[in-house]
C-alpha cells in the first residue's frame, strides 16, 4: 500500500493511493493536484549517507580535501528541513552551485540495536523518495557536510508516498532518475550502493539504537547538476514514487 499525508479542506489527513489520485481515510477521493502534500511521515532521527554511490564520489572528488572512505559517511538532519511533494524550495541568489540528489529513503519499523546484516531487513517498515538539495557554495571543511549546505529550511523534499516494505520485493534493484524541466539529468540504480541497506542498518545499530520512524537517506548516484530559480525538478524511483519540486527565488521570501 502507498500512504500519504496531505492537507485539504482545512485539515491534515492520512490518505492512500487511488486510481483517481488519492483517497482520504474518511473516504473522500481527490485528484493529486487538489491537495497540499506533506512529507508522508514525521520522522524521528534523520540519517543521510554521503558518497554512497561510487560514481558520485568520483564526481565530487576534486573538492574532498581529506581522507579516503573506510566506513559509511553518515550525517544527521532535522525535521525542519523536510517539505512535501509539489513544494517550493528556495534557491539563494548568492549561490553558484545548488544541486538536487535523488535518494531512496528507508523508514525504520522496529527498534534496532546490534542487528546483524542477515536480520536487518526485518527492521524496515518501508520506503519513500527524497530529494536532498545541497548548496555547495556554503560548504566548509568543518563537520562536513555542514548544516548550512544540507539542512536548510525546505531543502529536503520527501514523498509523495510512504510505500510498505512488503510491496517492494527488492529495494536493491530500483532505477532512480532525476528530470530538470523534463530533461533527464541523473540516472542510477539502487543496486550500485556502496553500502546497501542491510550494511547500513548493521553499521548504525552497532553504536546507536534505531527507532521506529527513523529515516535513512541512502545517498545519490552521479549526475548532479546546478539548478536555477523556476526549474521544476522531478526525482523518481521505480515503484516508490515521482517527487516534484520547484525552485523559487529570494524574492518569494522577502529577501
Amino acid at each position: 500500500m502507498k500512504h500519504a499525508r496531505v492537507a485539504w479542506a482545512g485539515a491534515v489527513h492520512e490518505a492512500v493511493e487511488h486510481p483517481q489520485g488519492l483517497k482520504l481515510a474518511d473516504g473522500r477521493v481527490l485528484a493529486e493536484d487538489q491537495v497540499v502534500w506533506l512529507p508522508p511521515l514525521q520522522p524521528g532521527t534523520i540519517l543521510a549517507l554521503g558518497l554512497n554511490y561510487a560514481e558520485h564520489a568520483k564526481e565530487l572528488a576534486k573538492e574532498l580535501s581529506a581522507g579516503t572512505q573506510d566506513e559509511p559517511l553518515v550525517f544527521l538532519k532535522s525535521p525542519g528541513t523536510l517539505i512535501g511533494h509539489r513544494g517550493f524550495t528556495r534557491r539563494p541568489a548568492d549561490a553558484a552551485f545548488m544541486h538536487y540528489e535523488c535518494e531512496l529513503a528507508v523508514v525504520v519499523g522496529r527498534s534496532a540495536r546490534n542487528v546483524r546484516r542477515a536480520d536487518a531487513m526485518a527492521h524496515v517498515a518501508g520506503y519513500t523518495v527524497a530529494n536532498d538539495y545541497a548548496v555547495r557554495d556554503y560548504l566548509e571543511n568543518w563537520y562536513r557536510p555542514n548544516l548550512r549546505v544540507k539542512n536548510r529550511d525546505g531543502g529536503t523534499v520527501l514523498g509523495p508516498w510512504f510505500v510498505d516494505a512488503a510491496d517492494v520485493p527488492d529495494p536493491h534493484a530500483l532505477a532512480l532518475r532525476t528530470f530538470v524541466n523534463g530533461r533527464l539529468t541523473q540516472q542510477g540504480n539502487t543496486a550500485d550502493m556502496v553500502n546497501d541497506i542491510p550494511a547500513l542498518i548493521e553499521y548504525l545499530s552497532a553504536f546507536m539504537t534505531l527507532q521506529p520512524g527513523d529515516l535513512i537517506l541512502t545517498g545519490t548516484p552521479d549526475g548532479v547538476v546546478n539548478v536555477n530559480v523556476g526549474d521544476e525538478v522531478v526525482t523518481e524511483i521505480d515503484g516508490i514514487g515521482r517527487l516534484h519540486n520547484t525552485l523559487v527565488g529570494d524574492d518569494s521570501f522577502g529577501r
Binding site: L41, Q42, P43, G44, T45, L47, S65, A66, G67, E71, L73, V74, F75, L76, K77, S78, P79, G80, T81, S111, R113, N114, Y138, E140, N141, W142, Y143, R144, N146, L147, R148, N151, R152, D153, L204, A206, F207, M208, T209, L210, Q211, P212, G213
Partner: protein, 227 residues
C-alpha cells in the same frame, strides 16, 4: 510517530532536535592554532559549526552513560543549552533570546577524536552520549553570556570554563542559525564547548554545574557486551 525507548530520557522539555555548536569558544578555536588554515580545513569556520545529537543520545540527570568496549575514556563537553520556546525563524540578535523557554545543562559526550573535518557518528551519536538537565525558565537567568561552567569527576574539579568567551554570543548564535534553519519549540541549541574538555572513564561519576542552572550528575558504565 517517535516512540520513547525504555531507559532513555523522558523528563525534560526536549522533544525536538538537539543541535550542538563547536569551536564557538575563542580558546577552543585558538587551541587549533595554524591548523585552521591547513588541510583538511584550509580556512577558519565562517558559519557556526553545527552538529546534531540524535534522540538515542539523550539521557537525564542520574542516568548512566555507556563507555563502549575498547574505548579508554570519554570526552566530557559541558555546555549551555538554549531551549527554544517560540519558533525562531530569521530572528535578529536583539530579539533572539525572547524566543527561549529557558536554559539547560547539556553534556556533549564524545569518543575522543582528532579531526573536525568529518567526524564519524560513532564518536558523537552513540546511545546515552548526551545528558541534558531540567529546563530552567529563561526569566530566572540574567545573562547567559556570563555563566561559569564546572566539570567535576568523582568529586574533584576537572575543568572550569564559562560562556563569557564565546565567539558568537548566545543571541548572535541563535540569530545566525535561524537565518537558514528554523528552530522550533522543544529544540535545543547548545552554545559550544570550551578548550580542554576533560576525560572520564567507566566507573567514574561526572558532575556538571552551571551557575544559576544547578548541576547534573551521571555515572559512566562500561557498555554491556553485545547480546
Amino acid at each position: 510517530m517517535p516512540v520513547p525507548v525504555p531507559g532513555f530520557l523522558s523528563q525534560t522539555a526536549v522533544r525536538g532536535t538537539v543541535y550542538g555548536t563547536l569551536l564557538n569558544h575563542r580558546d577552543a578555536l585558538a587551541a587549533l592554532g595554524d591548523a585552521v588554515h591547513q588541510p583538511p580545513y584550509k580556512a577558519p569556520p565562517r558559519a557556526p559549526v553545527l552538529y546534531i545529537k540524535p534522540r538515542n543520545t539523550w539521557v537525564g540527570d542520574g542516568d548512566a552513560v555507556h563507555v563502549p568496549a575498547g574505548v579508554d575514556a570519554l570526552e566530557i563537553g559541558a555546555t549551555l543549552g538554549l531551549v527554544i520556546g517560540r519558533t525562531a525563524c530569521r530572528v535578529s540578535a536583539g530579539q533572539a533570546l525572547s524566543h527561549l523557554a529557558g536554559y539547560a545543562i547539556v553534556v556533549d559526550i564524545s569518543v575522543p577524536h582528532g579531526s573536525f573535518y568529518r567526524p564519524s557518528l560513532r564518536f558523537k551519536a552513540r546511545d546515552t552520549f548526551c545528558p541534558i538537565g531540567p529546563v530552567v525558565p529563561a526569566d530566572r537567568l540574567l545573562d547567559p553570556d556570563a555563566l561559569g561552567i564546572e566539570v567535576a569527576i568523582d568529586g574533584s574539579l576537572a575543568h572550569r570554563a564559562g560562556t563569557a568567551g564565546l565567539v558568537r554570543s548566545c543571541a548572535r548564535l541563535l540569530a545566525d542559525v535561524s537565518e537558514f534553519m528554523t528552530l522550533f519549540p522543544g529544540d535545543v541549541l547548545s552554545v559550544g564547548v570550551a578548550a580542554g574538555a576533560p576525560l572520564a572513564r567507566a566507573g567514574q561519576r561526572v558532575r556538571v554545574s552551571i551557575g544559576g542552572l544547578g548541576r547534573i550528575e551521571n555515572p559512566l558504565l562500561a557498555e554491556r557486551a553485545a547480546a
